[in-house]
C-alpha cells in the first residue's frame, strides 16, 4: 500500500514536471518566432542510417514508424514555412536501457540562414529557459579523441585504431578492420566515452567525415563535418547539423549508408524520395538539431534511469 502510494506520487511528479517543461520549451520557441508543427509518425520510408534500426508495420503496404521528424520538417522547409519545430514521439527498435527507450520524445527544430554556432547558442538559451544552470563548454571531437587515445581521428591509420581498440578489449572481426566509421566508434566507446561521465557539460563539434551523417563538410578542405553533439553527464542530449540542402549530395549520403549497411550485413532501406524531392524543389540554407526530451529531463532532474520517466506500471 505504501509502495503504491509513493509510486502514485512519483508518477504524478514525472507528468506534472513534464507538462511544465513542455510549456517552457513552447514559450521559448514562440518568443523566437519558431513555428510549431505536427507531422506524421508513420512514413513510407525508413531511415537509412546504419546505426538505427527501424520499427515498421507490415499491414498491407509496409509503413515505418519515424526515427525522427527530419524528413517531414525538411519537406515543410521547402514550402518556405521559415523556422519550425516539432515535439513528438520517435521510434528506434531494440534501443532499451538506462539511457534508451524504443519510443521517446524528440524536440527537433530548424533555423534557416544561420551558422551552426548560432544553433549551439540557441540550444544553450533553450536549456537556460528550461532551468538548466551549468555552463556548457565547446570542444572539438579531435581534441577529445586525441587526448584520450593519442590518435588523430582525422588522419591516423586504420591499423592504429585497430590496435588501440584491441588493446582495450574490443572484439573486432575481419570485416571490421576497414570500416573506419566503426573503428572510430570502437575507440570512442572504449577510450573516450568512459571519460565523458566525469566531464562538465560539453558541445562536441567538428566530427570526422565518416560520422558526418547528414551534415555538410566544412569549407574547401572537407575534412570535418559541421555537426555537434551536446553531452551532459556522459549522455548525448542533442545532435545538430549544418544540413545538407543539395538533393544529389543527400542522395549520395543515402547510397553510402546503404553500402555500409550491406557491408555490415544489414537490411537495405529505400532512400526517402519525399525528402530528396523537397531538396530538389529548394530549401533555404538551414541548421537543425534534435534533442531527446527524456534525456534533457535526466540532466535537469539528475535521473539515472530513463525508464523511470514513464508511467509506473503495476
Amino acid at each position: 500500500m505504501d509502495d503504491s502510494k509513493s509510486d502514485n506520487a512519483k508518477t504524478r511528479e514525472v507528468f506534472r514536471r513534464r507538462a511544465l517543461l513542455l510549456q517552457k520549451i513552447r514559450t521559448y520557441f514562440s518568443s523566437e518566432g519558431v513555428t510549431e508543427v505536427n507531422t506524421p509518425v508513420l512514413s513510407e520510408f525508413g531511415s537509412c542510417e546504419p546505426a538505427l534500426k527501424n520499427l515498421s508495420l507490415n499491414k498491407g503496404r509496409r509503413k515505418y514508424l519515424r526515427t525522427s521528424s527530419e524528413s517531414s520538417l525538411k519537406q515543410l522547409l521547402s514550402h518556405n514555412l521559415g523556422d519550425v519545430y516539432e515535439i513528438g514521439p520517435v521510434f528506434r527498435d531494440e534501443e532499451i536501457g538506462p539511457c534508451h527507450l524504443e519510443e521517446f520524445t524528440m524536440v527537433e527544430w530548424y533555423r534557416t540562414n544561420v551558422e551552426l554556432l548560432f544553433l549551439i547558442e540557441d540550444v544553450r538559451c533553450l536549456l537556460a529557459r528550461c532551468g538548466y544552470q551549468d555552463t556548457i563548454d565547446i570542444t572539438t571531437y579531435a581534441e577529445l579523441f586525441q587526448n584520450a587515445s593519442g590518435l588523430n581521428p582525422h588522419n591516423c591509420g586504420n591499423s592504429e585504431l585497430v590496435s588501440c581498440a584491441i588493446e582495450k578489449g574490443v572484439d573486432l572481426k575481419e570485416c571490421d578492420l576497414n570500416d573506419r566509421a566503426l573503428l572510430l566508434d570502437a575507440v570512442y566507446v572504449s577510450v573516450v566515452e568512459p571519460l565523458l561521465k566525469s566531464f562538465s557539460p560539453v558541445f562536441i563539434i567538428d566530427y570526422p567525415k565518416e560520422h558526418r551523417a547528414y551534415a555538410r563538410l566544412s569549407g574547401t578542405t572537407e575534412t570535418v563535418a559541421l555537426r555537434f553533439e551536446l553531452i551532459i553527464n556522459g549522455i548525448e542530449i542533442a545532435n545538430g547539423y549544418d544540413e545538407i540542402t543539395e538533393s544529389l549530395e543527400q542522395k549520395d549520403r543515402f547510397n553510402a549508408e546503404n553500402r555500409l549497411r550491406k557491408r555490415r550485413g544489414l537490411e537495405q532501406i529505400e532512400p526517402d524520395a519525399a525528402w530528396l524531392d523537397a531538396l530538389s524543389s529548394g530549401v533555404p540554407s538551414v541548421c537543425g538539431v534534435a534533442l531527446g526530451l527524456e534525456r534533457l529531463e535526466m540532466a535537469l532532474w539528475e535521473i539515472s534511469d530513463i525508464r523511470s520517466l514513464g508511467i509506473k506500471s503495476y
Partner: protein, 190 residues
C-alpha cells in the same frame, strides 16, 4: 555450440572468453550519437576470479559456457583428487586441487558443498559456511592466562591450522567459519 547474442546479456550469464568460463558482472550498452552500438561488459573469470572488461558490437554473439552450480556431497580424497556425489542421482565427480583450493582445509567427509561445474567438471568448490572439526593437536593452554583473550595454534583433523582460545583442548570439536578460516566456538557435536 550454444551462443548468446548481446541482446541476451545480463549479469550472471556464463560465457566463454579466450577459452575460459566467465560470468557477466555488468552489461552496459554504449552508443555514440550516430554510431555503432556496443555492449561493454565487465566479466569475472570463474576459475581464478580475475575481473576484466570486454567490448562487443551489439548484435554479435559469444559462445555460452556450460556452467552449472550444484550442491554435491564431499566423499573422500584419494591422495590426488577429491570426490563428490550428487545425493539424488548418486553420480560422482572428481575435483583437482585447482578446483578444491582452500576448501580442502575444511572437508573431512559428508559436507554439502556448492560446486561450480564447467562441462560437467568441478572448477570451484565452496565448503559450507560453518564446519565442525576435531582438534587433533594443540599444546595445553597456560593456566591463569584465560582472561587475556590470548590464542594458540591448533591443528585440526583435516590438517588445517587455526588459532583457537587457550582453553580449547586436544580432542575437542570446534566450529570454524570457512569464509574467514576463524574459530567461532566450541561445539557440542560429536
Amino acid at each position: 555450440m550454444a551462443t548468446y547474442s548481446t541482446s541476451q546479456f545480463k549479469p550472471g550469464l556464463k560465457i566463454l572468453v579466450d577459452g575460459e568460463p566467465h560470468s557477466i558482472l555488468v552489461n552496459d550498452i554504449v552508443k555514440p550519437g550516430k554510431g555503432q552500438a556496443f555492449n561493454r561488459i565487465k566479466i569475472r573469470n570463474l576459475k581464478n576470479g580475475r575481473v576484466g572488461e570486454k567490448t562487443l558490437k551489439s548484435g554479435e554473439s559469444i559462445e555460452a559456457a556450460d556452467v552449472l552450480e550444484v550442491e554435491l556431497q564431499y566423499l573422500y580424497n584419494d591422495g590426488s583428487d577429491w570426490y563428490f556425489m550428487d545425493s539424488k542421482t548418486f553420480e560422482q565427480v572428481s575435483a583437482n586441487l585447482d578446483a578444491v583450493g582452500d576448501a580442502r582445509f575444511w572437508l573431512k567427509g559428508q559436507e554439502i558443498c556448492d560446486v561450480t561445474l564447467w562441462n560437467d567438471h568441478p572448477i570451484v568448490v565452496v565448503p559450507p559456511n560453518f564446519v565442525v572439526l576435531e582438534v587433533s593437536e594443540s599444546d595445553p593452554g597456560l593456566k591463569g592466562d584465560t582472561a587475556s583473550g590470548g590464542t594458540k595454534p591448533a591443528v585440526l583433523e583435516t590438517g588445517a591450522t587455526v588459532k583457537v582460545p587457550l582453553f580449547v583442548e586436544q580432542g575437542e570439536s570446534i566450529r570454524i567459519d570457512t569464509r574467514t578460516g576463524e574459530y567461532v566456538s566450541r561445539s557440542k557435536e560429536n
